[in-house]
Amino acid sequence: MKIMVAVKRVVDYAVKIRVKPDKSGVETQNVKMSMNPFCEIALEEALKIKESGLAKEVVAVSMGPSNCVDTLRTGLAMGADRAIHVEASRDLVPLTVAKLLKKLVEIENPGLLILGKQAIDDDCNQTGQMIAGLLGWPQGTFASKVVFDKEKQVATVDREVDGGLETLCLDLPAVITTDLRLNQPRYATLPNIMKAKSKPIKKFTLEELNVEIKSDIEVVQVIEPPKRKAGVILSSVDELIDKLKNEAHVI
């Protein structure tokens, strides 16, 4: 079985982000970029499944401008066997990503598609669900535990939902999106980094895949949240009542 993992290049999780002065977006020049943490977890899960003998190959996919290749190299250094880069010059919305993934799935025929539950730059949490819908595949999102059964060709997924944990049984092929507690991603070791240099990265263009990137969404403005005001220490109950009445207007 082949596993396909979609990974995204985002601003590093630990960086303090700044909004661009023209409010068109977040500052990404000269800022450290890394693989989306949830995508790392997805890739780690795929590698674990391969190491347990249930899959033969792990293919990492990323879409965007040429620097996506850095993220794919990281994925290869972690242990993926091949990588695919879909060249796109603009930011892609989840629906477009899902359509592109659908085309790749038709080419590659994986038995399992694993993605991170959301990207930390847009927090959309849509791509996994959309691709499952487009392919008509079952989906196990927010996975915190994945157990495989090779004979029955099913995956049992524990999902983290608001009410607690929900366990689903999915027939393969299926889409799984990963949540934080699924696993701890491995480090890229030097021998693997060395091997990664010779692993192939195949390039596709949008025309080849015959997908239009017409976006229905336009980002109007990006602003910082309002700064928290300092607290005030009050000296009497009367002052408290006065403030609640006249300043906060809650009583």
Binding site: D12, Y13, A14, V15, K16, N30, V31, K32, S34, M35, P37, E40, D70, T74, A77, M78, Q184, Y187, A188, T189, L190, P191, I193, M194
Partner: protein, 541 residues
């Protein structure tokens, strides 16, 4: 001869008092509930009279020769002093509350405890000047204190010295974005300065594990080293100016912000590293390097110490200008960290290796630096210098590597009693000392070696369940003699403080030390600033 006899009879009487005290005193913090040889205690603990001071402090775990006596020429506090300070600083900055005094009287390692009755928190240089002027006239001994993270007992009182804590002077005065020159007050916490500069696109030239608590005044006064010295050099080079208050209350304004100023003797260097014994630093002007965008870090395993050395030589040559840190830890240190710290993950879990090396590079071009680092590491691996290694793929992984290296002191504290030594040695010889100590101590204790290999700085630590004189006998003075034989420094970056006050002769000639004594006498004739520390006690008589 008489002195010796007096000392031994003193010791005998001390012993009987000791035995009586041992049964009644409870110091759970130091003993962890075990009743063993206490590191420090006060003889007259239960008498909290303002006027009564402890005549003798006997440190149980140290060698016999270091019995420190309170200098009788120092006055003791009286109520008039307290009211003067209250009037000068305001009620809030004059602290006599026992709980707060407990904390400021004890050092970070819980090894040294003073019995000061007064903590002062001035807010301006003028207040510091007035405090010192008064204390000098009254002959009251003073301990300047910052973040209290020192490891040689230099930041806490030995007896009842007045503690002058600069924590309230924490303003950033100015920052020049073009030159990167930061002017701030001495009480600014290092981590806060790092965050401030981060927003401006700069970094502090020093970084150490204690950054969350240590203050820049203390860093400068102790010439702190840290993790980035191999790249940015020592504070002597990065401090462009400072403002210090002398013992008599005179304020020396040497707060220049110029890169070049050859007008007269450069006195600021006297205050950098003199551990508060020549003056209290109140403001600092420091040159900060620009924050470079690309940081890469690798965690490597080496089979033996000579591989670590060769790796260092290769790194300096092949990584050259982008190398920003080169640290090492041995298998014992790694084991300690993995067992005693929470949330720490072994980056190379397959097997435990004899030595671990952490290499960090900082540069301006991400892909160029990455390629350079990878090429260097791969060729080192092929050459057999490295047995295994990982490169951090994002900032979180990088922080986790640093957590391992920076967490060793913390892990040592949690593991029980620790004897800490900080030595500068020629790189080829460094680990020989660790091996020697292991042979000497055998089963008595665990010997751990780690440190700034890039600067030739070894942190030798001996870890045991409890403090024990037998262990100490095997360590001192062997360690100092070994270091002296190889012309090393018995205190690479930690300073002398109280712990090594009488050990300076292992690394400095008598004539040099005599000149130091003359300078001290000149700048602090009454000897009120941080007494009993840094210079040998024999110089005072």
């Amino acid at each position: 001869m008489e002195k010796l006899r007096a000392t031994s009879s003193l010791r005998r009487s001390l012993k009987s008092i000791l035995n009586r005290q041992l049964s009644s005193v409870s110091e759970p913090r130091y003993l962890n509930g075990k009743r063993s040889c206490q590191p420090t205690f006060n003889l007259i603990r239960d008498h909290r009279n303002l006027g009564e001071a402890n005549p003798i402090l006997y440190r149980c775990f140290s060698s016999v020769s270091t019995v420190v006596q309170r200098n009788p020429s120092f006055s003791t506090l009286n109520p008039d002093d307290i009211s003067y300070f209250k009037q000068l600083l305001g009620e809030k900055s004059v602290i006599q509350d026992e709980d707060r005094l407990e904390t400021v009287n004890t050092d970070w390692m819980h090894k040294y405890k003073g019995s000061s009755k007064l903590l002062l928190q001035p807010r301006t240089t003028e207040e510091v000047a007035q405090i010192l002027k008064y204390c000098n006239s009254r002959r009251l001994a003073v301990v300047p204190q910052g973040g209290n993270t020192g490891l040689v007992g230099g930041s806490v009182p030995v007896f009842d010295e007045v503690i002058v804590n600069l924590g309230s002077m924490n303003n950033i005065i100015s920052f020049d974005k073009v030159s990167g020159i930061l002017v701030c007050e001495a009480g600014c916490i290092l981590e806060n300065l790092i965050s401030f500069l981060d927003n401006q696109g700069f970094i502090m030239p020093l970084d150490l594990g204690a950054k969350g608590s240590c203050q820049i005044g203390g860093n400068v006064s102790t010439n702190a080293g840290g993790l980035r010295l191999v790249r940015y050099g020592s504070l002597h080079g990065n401090v462009l100016g400072l403002e210090a208050v002398l013992a008599n209350g005179d304020v020396l304004d040497m707060l220049g912000t110029l890169r070049k100023d050859n007008t007269g003797y450069d006195l600021k260097h006297l205050f950098v590293g003199s551990e508060g014994s020549l003056g209290i630093v109140t403001k600092v002007s420091i040159l900060t390097p620009p924050k470079l965008s690309s940081e890469n870090i690798a965690f490597l395993a080496c089979r033996d110490y000579s591989s670590c050395q060769k790796l260092l030589m290769e790194a300096k040559r092949k990584l050259g200008e982008i190398l920003s840190a080169f640290e090492f830890l041995d298998i014992q240190a790694m084991d300690l960290v993995l067992n005693h710290l929470d949330g720490v993950r072994n980056p190379l879990p397959a097997t435990m290796h004899n030595f671990y090396v952490l290499i960090e590079t900082t540069g301006s071009d991400e892909s160029y630096d990455r390629e350079k680092l990878e090429a260097f590491l791969l060729s080192s691996m092929e050459g057999g210098l490295i047995s295994d290694g990982v490169i951090a793929q994002d900032i979180n992984q990088a922080s986790s590597f640093w957590r391992i290296r920076e967490g060793v002191p913390e892990a040592l504290m949690k593991a029980g009693a620790v004897y800490k030594y900080d030595l500068s040695l020629p790189v080829e010889k460094m680990y020989d000392l660790v091996d020697d100590m292991r042979t000497r101590l055998g089963d008595l204790a665990r010997v751990i070696g780690y440190g700034h290999l890039g600067d030739g700085n070894l942190h030798l630590n001996v870890s045991a369940a409890q403090y024990d004189d037998r262990i100490l006998e095997q360590i001192e003075p062997y360690v100092y003699e070994w270091t002296s034989k190889h012309r090393g420094s018995i205190s690479a970056e930690h300073g002398l403080g109280l712990m090594k006050a009488n050990k300076i002769y292992y690394s400095k000639s008598p004539e040099t030390v005599k000149t130091m004594g003359s300078i001290k006498k000149l700048l602090d004739p009454n000897g009120i600033l941080n007494p009993y520390k840094v210079l040998p006690h024999s110089l005072n008589s």
